[in-house]
Structure formats: structure tokens, C-alpha cells
Symmetry: C2
Subunit: 317 residues, 2 copies
């Protein structure tokens, strides 16, 4: 059975799975693997390295003929020419995040793009719909990376937003396989976004040390770092991030110099390795194509099992 | 279509919804309404008021002919004669929580009871299975009340535990309607537990002021109170609990004298009003029978929609 809903149609994909736009990581090697698997790769701009991004998008065109998207993380890319930059790349899909949906939605839509805004609360969702977005990425607090300081879990946030808006929703936070994708659809999503699952994929450009840390993490292996100002963060639990969680030091400052060591040298204690709670469910580094195809197969199995009776697992006793 | 799975069979109920065992609240007025609706009411013992509980169980027999259960919150009821006490009540189902599953499982099973242990992590789940429990209540961090200091959301914890154990699972945390119940089943549950939803029900014995505070709360309207020692707590966000969240004062001490004022006089700022994130999804005080029947109807609609295509909401565009 093939997927056919508003997300597959708007994004032009077979499989409504979107790869999250992790800074430095969401580049052509990973994103092209996702698009080639029938899902949607996204190129990040939050690193601020726009010339490198431009080159990555050129590479994307060499690596895949399938659609892909770009993310604008507004808090990190403050130059308004980012709209022109994205429009020039001739992509059709953009997600906006970490800022007001009033800022770029109109200009992006005027440029012919389909715009989904990332929201962590109902209030933000209603504001984005008012701003004219085509859809929402609804992001539960169990996800990795930058977070609202008052996190709300996917199980609560997603059906709440679903009940109050009509636009299509891509669910993020806690999703890494077909069971969680089916749960997100039960809660009203028409697509899902995977971050940590893709960070850990074979094609992800990060150091093996970070991938290994994800594979080894238990489900309690992340910490939620609140800050006085600005966004909160969810990251892998390490000695360093536990100190930050106790209020010793400034998590945002940690994202500076240490980033490259964490990302590309695998020195997990050198900075903050962003990760969602699903690190506790990831047991191996696998190719993107395998992650995507297994997710679809599990999704089908889960839905079939649900439909065949009200029994959940259903056997035994 | 009727439910028929290990949870309905083990509990002897038509509908695999269990009411959570909130201290002082999970007494005969509420629990009998739940059992009479075809689900499972549970009587608490965490208040420690065992003589009052004994009288409540006598009342239960007058108010319902349906099955009901008892909870033993081990951290709060330290007298080992609690096993004898529960066995004497001639109930068939008990949940144990807030303590080691090694402590009472064997004695309870020897007394002929079906035992489900409440777990907040995979490690606790494996330990409970080793101790011989019949099933698990897997409790995500979005739920209200006493919590593991490293909370894991239902979307992550439930499928993780499901993939590692064979016993039936009742999902708790984030569940208040048919969509969230269907999501929990997609993640491997065969039953769900509702706490905050039942706290807010018409038959719940708490003051209207607390029920109103639940109805008015947004989805960001709870705080997670960590403690140096012992369990963490999730409670409604108030001036008092925000102070506690900033580390001013001891949350456990707040559960002392203020409890009765919060619970029965509606003075929300007099103490800590325990609540899950689903407070943000509850829009009205409703009778238990209506909550249960609507949940079942929504569950069926959600599963039918999922099965009819991979479209989530599926229409529009």
C-alpha cells in the first residue's frame, strides 16, 4: 500500500518521512540518501555557512533527482537575504524554525515555496497558521536539539494541535521506527520527522564516536538543559552536560568551539552532543535506505495488527 | 468491535482502561464509576489511611458488581502487612509502584492476585519481569504525580519496553482520549491508564477549583519538580510550583499540610496539585461514563482511519 496524503503530495515524495535539519549534519551526503530512499532530505542553514550550503545544494543535484528541502533556523540565520538565497536554490519545500512565522512566510510563499513552520506549542501553531503556512512540524519535547523551555511531549502536543488546526502536520520528537510513526499518525500526523535516527545513520557525516554514544545510550541517556534566556536544549547525558543540567555553566556557550570536536572528532565531552530521547531505542548504525524501508514495513504491520482487532500485541495469554 | 486481549482477560473488564491510583482521590466514588463504565477502577493506599480504605472497599461492593483493583505505593505504605490487607479485600488485581518489585510480588501472587508493576524505565521493567509480575504499567514522564527524576516520554519508553519483554503492558502518561489510546496500542500497549483525565471527572472527589485549574491549563501548564533525593513530581504550574521548580523549597514537604487544602478546598496555591501534561487537552469536567465511551468510539474511529489508508487525517489538500 502506498502513502497518499497531503504531506506526500505537497512534498512530492513517496514516503512521508522527513529528515531533520541538524546544523552541519544535514548536508548532501545524508540528505541525498534520504531523498533517494523515497523520503525527504533537508539541507540545513543553521550553521550559517551559506557558501558551503550553496555548494552542498549543487552536490545534491548530482546525488539525487528526487525532491529535497531547506530549513531556515531563524535565530541562527538572521540575514533577511536568506529568503532570496533559498529561493535561488530552486527547491520547492522549506521549513522555518526558531523564530516568528510572520517574518518569512509571506516572502517564501511569494517565491513559490511550500512552507512548514516548526512549533513546540499550540500557541505557536495558531500563530503560524495565521501567518499563512502550508503546514506544521509539531515538535514534542522528547526530541533533540533546540527546544522550548516548557517542553510538551508528542503524545500530548500533537493531538492537541491536530484538534485546533486544519493544515497538515509532520510530527517530530520520539519517532524512529514504524511503531512510533503509526502512533504519530494515530495522533493526527500525515508525516514524521526523524532527527537522532538520521544523525546515527551510516551516511551521517558525524564522527563514529558520536554515533556509538547514541547506540550505547539508554532511554534515560539525555538531559534537558534549560536556560535563563533563549531556547533550551536536549543533549546526550555526559559528565559535561550533567554539570550544565545542574546549572553550572552556559549551555549555549558550549555550542561554540566544542562543536567541531564533538561532531567531527567524536570527543563527546568536548561540547554538547544534541540528541533526542530515541537515542535509547537506536541499537545500530544503519544505512538510511534500510531505516526508511524498515520503518514503512513496521508501519504497515502495526496498522494491520491494530485493524485486525483491538488487541495491541494481541497474542499470548 | 469488542476488546479482547491479555489485559481485558486478566482484569476481567470489557474495556482496557484503568484509572490511576491517585492518593485520596482514587476512592469509591470515582473508582466505582470507572468500573461501572466497563473499565477498571483502582483504590489507592498511598494516603496511608488504611481504615478509611477498608471502608471505601466495602462501599465499592455496594456501588458496583464489576471488578476493581487496589494499588500499593510501596514508598508510602511501608508496613508489610499491606499484602495481607489487600488479600483480605478479595480483589483480584493489584498494581505495585514506587518500590522494588522484589518486595511484594511473590507474596501477592501467592495470595492469588494478578500483579502489574509500575515502571518508568526499561531497567525497572526487566527487574519487574524477573520478579515474576503478570504485567507492567509503563509510565511516561508526561504523566502527573510521582516520577522518575530522569523522565522518558511514552512515545519512547513504551515501544522500548515492548520490544524487550513479553508480558502485557498498560500504558500511562499522556493518555486522555481515543487517539492517544490508539497511539499507545500502536506502540505495543494492550491497555491504558488515565490519571489526570479521571482526576478531572465529575465523580472525582476533589474540589471544583482544582478541576477548573486542570480545564484552564494550557499544555505547557505543568512543571517537573526534581529533587535531590527520592522521586520527582509533575504538578500544575502555579506561582508556588514555579518557585519550587527554581529550586526554592522542598517539593515533598509541600505534599504535607497543604494537600487537603489543595484537594478539598480548591486552594491551588496552598500546596502542590499533581497533574500530567494532558491537563492541556482537557476542556471540560465530564462524567466517567462519557469519558470512557467517547474514548472507545474515538479509538475505533482512529484505527479505522489508519486502516483505510496511510493518510492520517487523510482528507483535504
Amino acid at each position: 500500500m502506498s502513502f497518499d496524503n497531503r504531506v506526500t503530495r505537497m512534498l512530492g515524495v513517496e514516503i512521508p518521512i522527513v529528515q531533520a535539519p541538524m546544523g552541519w549534519i544535514a548536508r548532501s551526503a545524508l540528505a541525498s540518501a534520504v531523498s533517494n530512499a523515497g523520503a525527504l532530505g533537508i539541507i540545513e542553514t543553521s550553521s550559517g555557512e551559506l557558501e558551503a550550503i550553496r555548494a552542498e545544494i549543487v552536490k545534491m543535484r548530482q546525488l539525487t533527482e528526487k525532491p529535497f528541502g531547506v530549513n531556515i533556523a531563524q535565530a541562527f540565520v538572521r540575514d533577511p537575504s536568506i529568503v532570496e538565497f533559498v529561493a535561488e536554490q530552486e527547491v520547492e519545500f522549506v521549513t522555518t524554525s526558531a523564530g516568528s512565522p510572520m517574518q518569512y512566510t509571506k516572502a517564501l510563499k511569494d517565491a513559490g515555496l511550500t512552507v512548514f513552520h516548526v512549533v513546540p506549542t499550540l500557541r505557536a501553531a495558531l500563530k503560524a497558521v495565521d501567518a499563512g503556512v502550508d503546514g506544521l512540524v509539531v515538535e514534542g519535547g522528547e526530541g533533540g536539539g533546540f527546544k522550548n523551555p516548557s517542553p510538551v511531549s508528542t503524545m500530548v502536543l500533537l493531538p492537541l494541535v491536530r484538534s485546533k488546526v486544519d493544515v497538515p502536520i509532520i510530527a517530530a520528537g520520539g519517532i524512529c521506527d514504524g511503531a512510533s510513526m503509526a502512533a504519530a499518525f494515530a495522533l493526527g500526523a500525515e508525516g514524521v520527522q526523524m532527527g537522532t535516527r538520521m544523525v546515527s545513520a551510516s551516511e551521517s557525516p558525524i564522527h563514529e564516536g558520536w554515533k556509538r554514544a547514541i547506540v550505547e545510550a539508554p532511554e534515560t541517556g539525555t538531559v534537558f538543559l534549560r536556560q535563563e534566556k533563549g531556547p533550551a536544549l536536549r543533549a546526550l547525558r555526559t559528565e559535561r552536560t550533567e554539570r550544565l543540567a545542574r546549572g553550572e555553566g552556559n549551555p549555549m556557550a558550549e555550542l561554540g568551539g566544542g562543536v567541531r570536536k564533538v561532531y567531527f572528532e567524536g570527543e563527546i565531552e568536548a561540547g554538547v552532543a544534541l540528541s533526542g530521547e530515541v537515542a535509547g531505542r537506536i541499537e545500530a548504525v544503519e544505512p538510511v535506505a534500510e531505516i526508511v524501508s524498515r520503518t514503512v514495513r513496521e508501519f504497515d504491520e502495526t496498522v494491520a495488527k491494530l485493524a485486525s482487532g483491538r488487541s495491541g500485541r494481541g497474542d499470548g495469554c
